[in-house]
Structure formats: structure tokens, C-alpha cells
Symmetry: C2
């Protein structure tokens, strides 16, 4: 029987590449998108379409109202999404505990469908310095997952796969292209508008643009 | 300045005792209830009223649609909430990854308000054998919290407080009474009806009833 995997999926460049990798590794993909009050909620629509395009076994959307906590430019109307800057500081787009919440929900989904493999497209090279995108965070979550679950108690070993962790954006794009990813169907922008157009200047756009440039490939992104 | 704490709060016997303990220890309490598609959603109303009664600094409700994942008698209409049984197995009321999800949201809330202390009323004595109610789970979450957050990177140390972990229900009740908890204002039942009446026979009712009996105290619970 084909092994199931849960893929945290925003329909962006990274998670779509991640989905392609999971499929290439022979997993039966179950994509999971989180509606967390992100201002760029159009990404949920992109994710849904992309999940359909890639013919996943199931696409699940779980809502979690992290916007009610505030504290991030991505969810709090009182804080503007900033343009990319070279600062060493963790930017305002950091959402407190976001990846911990996402992975926890993915863990619940995985346990429900009988999967022990969870993929996420985080990256610790061309990234914004978020603490929950680091290898030691992932290892700690894996340890937690095995203690937190009925499956874990029964001896199953959960594995958190972050195949993009050590790659730069250009290499991610090249890998995805080799696997047949159509990046025109992905969206990464934090200010994505209601027609799916990217701003071109936020952190996420910055790294994506740079990736295509460094890979020497045409950028298929639709900019506003 | 009074130190802030987040208390995971269902308005039940355990979490209300936990709130009383946090207050007694001098913390400024911020209660957090999760609306996760539980069938006994009336507990959210009990929690709101109890938070008001105990005059907490802020009461926050975060929704997370765990019911869309299914797999638990507490959220899935296809699975009935069972009566208590002496079985060694983890019961159907187990919600995959629930405490991991709750603690993750609590971590996000804590980081947003500038708290590093999180209380939860889990218990590893008179309990249902849930894996995410064990000390090793809590330690793993604490390790994760420090790696997952901006605050953690900046050197803050998160502390997960589970003051009831090693107590039996009778001792929890006695401790709560000593701190002035009014248990008639708490509700623990998995089948709580829309008038806040308990079934008296589910796991949660079983342990609660036994607790009052063993403590030699009158049970103020409203049964249906």
C-alpha cells in the first residue's frame, strides 16, 4: 500500500515544490492548508487549485483564528506588511508560534488518516530568520510528536520532512522544475491581492524574485 | 509588575483549579479557551462565565476546526461518546494531537502578550490515559517552545506549569476548595447539554464524581 504523507500546503513556491518531492518519493499526498486569518487569504484559493492540479488524494483546510491573538503584520490590521529590508531582526511578518500550530494540526491530521510522515517547505537559507524555520525546531517537534500521540505510544515514529531546509531559493526552483512544477500556478506574496497578483516588494516576493534571477530562469509570477 | 500567565481554560474542574493556583502564585491570569468543534461546546459558555467570575485580566477564545479532521468521539458525530470503562486502551474520546494544538495556540498567545508562563490542568493520575497528559510530553513541549519563538531566541525561557499532574481528583478538589474555588460553577462532562447539565457516566464525569466521593465532599455538579 502506498504510504500516506501530510503536506503543509499554502500553494506557494516552497510548499508546492515540497508536494512534488513527496510525490516523487512515492507518497500518497494529503495536503493541509491553514486558514489563520492571514490578510493574503487568497493563498487559500491558490492552494485549493494547486492541490487539484497536482491531483492530491485529499485537500484539507483547517481554520485557526490566530488573527484574534494579533501581534503579526500578516494577521493584524494594525501592523502593515513591511517591504523587504536587510535587517538582522526577525521581521514583523513573524506570526507567534505559527509553525508550531501548523505542525500540531498536521500531526492531528496525520494521526487521523494513519500517516506518520509530515512534509513542510520551510527553508533556513533564503528566509526571514523565523525561529520556527530552524533544524533544531524541527527535531524538537519530531520528539514531541512521538510523545504526544496515541500512534507514538503504540510505537510509530513520526518523521518531519523538510527537504528544502538547506537549499537556497534558486536550487529549490531548479529542483521543482526538474520535477515538473509549474510555478505560474503558485503564489508566495504576503500582500497577494484578490486577483492573485503579487506586490513584488515584501520579504516573500524578494526571496522568490531573487530565486528566479539566480536560477537564470524567467519569473512567471503575476505582479500587480 | 505582576507576571502574566496564560491558563488553558475549559471552565472544568481541573482548569479552574489551575486558574486558582496561578492566581495564588501571584500571576496575572489570561485565560484561553479553544473552540475545537467539541460536541460539548456549552463548556465555552461555562468557561466564559467562570473567567468573568474569577476576574481574569483577559479571556480569549480561539477557534480551531479540529472537528474537520474527525477521529474522536468528542468531535466526530459518527463516533458516540462512550461511558467510562476500566479498559487499559486509550479511549475514543482521545482527540488526535489536541493538547499539542492547544499548547501551541497558548504559546502564540503568551508570546503576543509577553508572557512566558503557561498553565494547564492536565493530570496523570485519575485520567483517561491520553498520551498528551504525561510529564515527558510537557517537557518536550517546553523544549520546543524555547526553540519555536522569537522570545525563546531572545533568551526567554518558557515554562509549562501543570500543577495538578501528580494529584488525584480528590486532592485537586481539596486544593481548589482551600483556594476558594466554587465547583458548582465548573463543568467537566463530555456530553454536557445545552443547559450545562452533566451526563454522570462518561469518563470525565466518572473521575469527577469519584473525586468528590473520595474527598468526602458533596458533589455540587448539576446532573441531567
Amino acid at each position: 500500500m502506498q504510504k500516506k504523507a501530510v503536506i503543509l500546503f499554502s500553494g506557494g513556491l516552497d510548499s508546492t515544490t515540497c508536494l512534488a518531492i513527496a510525490k516523487d518519493q512515492g507518497y500518497l499526498p494529503y495536503t493541509l492548508s491553514c486558514s489563520y486569518g492571514q490578510k493574503h487569504s487568497f493563498e487559500l484559493e491558490t492552494a485549493r487549485k494547486a492541490a487539484e492540479y497536482y491531483n492530491v488524494k485529499q485537500h484539507k483546510v483547517v481554520s485557526v483564528t490566530l488573527d484574534s491573538l494579533g501581534g503579526s503584520a500578516l494577521t493584524d490590521n494594525a501592523i502593515d506588511v513591511p517591504d523587504f529590508s536587510e535587517s538582522e531582526n526577525i521581521p514583523d511578518t513573524y506570526v507567534p508560534a505559527r509553525n508550531t500550530v501548523f505542525l500540531s494540526i498536521a500531526l492531528g491530521f496525520a494521526e487521523t488518516i494513519g500517516a506518520t510522515d509530515i512534509f513542510l517547505g520551510i527553508n533556513a537559507v533564503d528566509y526571514s530568520g523565523y525561529p520556527d524555520c530552524r533544524p533544531q525546531f524541527l527535531q524538537a517537534f519530531e520528539d514531541l510528536a512521538n510523545l504526544a500521540t496515541k500512534k507514538g505510544v503504540e510505537g510509530a515514529k513520526f518523521k518531519i520532512h523538510a527537504p528544502l531546509l538547506e537549499l537556497n531559493k534558486a536550487d529549490i526552483i531548479k529542483m521543482g522544475m526538474a520535477l515538473g512544477v509549474d510555478y505560474s500556478k503558485t503564489a508566495s506574496c504576503y500582500r497577494l491581492d484578490s486577483q492573485g497578483r503579487a506586490c513584488g516588494t515584501c520579504d516573500s516576493c524578494h526571496y522568490r524574485k531573487l530565486g528566479f534571477k539566480e536560477a537564470g530562469l524567467a519569473d512567471p509570477t503575476l505582479y500587480s
